[in-house]
Subunit: 140 residues, 2 copies
DNA sequence: GTCCGTGCAAAGGATTTGCATAATC
DNA sequence: GATTATGCAAATCCTTTGCACGGAC
């Protein structure tokens, strides 16, 4: 029963259990692809006859981000996308044609980033490595 | 005389020589730090008593980007920044406190990115590696 | 019952666009 | 002189905010 775990997640974050929060959290947990824009969330909920106001979606997503339940990305193209935080770091490969997102981890790249931050005397807080390209399906 | 070269750059791009274009191009060539937002451009021109409308700044920056004279980056925080295209690839380190941008190149990281794209069967078109942190000055 | 959450509509910031005027070639 | 640029204001896109009402605890 995932619902129980979701209740727990919300409680831990100090958030009351409400229908919009539960639905958005479930949605992000089951989302495939993992990465959804606020508009995707709005549309999917609406298609399932669960209308939630845009303002609420943004507020909930922001709260989830603050609670580190999800992660927000600003890929090229203006809008933000959100994905469930799985606590396993990874970077992204985005298809500029179909917007599909793939994930990857490369330890060597990670290590070099630490090096660079050290060399430049920055206290590293975050990083964003996004590779853009055209995926196999789209490239025909 | 840089002006001559700038004329040439604009002509090659198929753009007429106009005051706003020349000023914006010069500005980006001499900018330090290299990375300016549209608002930075607006403010700097205005301070030099060369008023250019915001609409024009955005149009010119977009044309320059299309002509590959400059590069546009969407770092975290909403607004875009632009820098002169120097045809030497590099990535960025951004201070989240003062917005200072440093550049770096790491051949090992570059090579690994190619690997990843190949492995995932993406035809690589671009990539963006941005490391966020707090720079030495701000971290006190 | 209190406090927090939601919906709605309106505001916000960054960027773009339509249109009349002005400049380049 | 024809075509392309500019300035201005209005429009647009994504996101946030104010406020009154409704729901969680």
């Amino acid at each position: 029963m995932e619902t129980k775990m979701d209740h727990q997640k919300l409680r831990t974050a100090g958030l009351k259990i409400t229908a919009p929060r539960m639905k958005i959290l479930e949605l992000l947990e089951n989302a495939d692809p993992h990465h959804l824009s606020a508009e995707d969330v709005y549309r999917i909920l609406r298609e399932a006859d669960h209308d939630v106001a845009f303002a609420t979606i943004y507020r909930v997503l922001t709260q989830f981000e603050e609670a580190k339940l999800i992660k927000r990305h600003n890929f090229e193209g203006g809008r933000s996308v959100f994905e469930l935080e799985k606590h396993e770091h990874h970077d992204h490969l985005v298809c500029i044609s179909c917007n599909r997102v793939e994930e990857f981890v490369d330890e060597v790249i990670e290590a070099h980033q630490l090096e660079i931050a050290k060399k430049k005397k920055f206290r590293l807080t975050d990083h964003n490595l996004t590779i853009y390209g055209v995926c196999e399906k789209c490239d025909q």
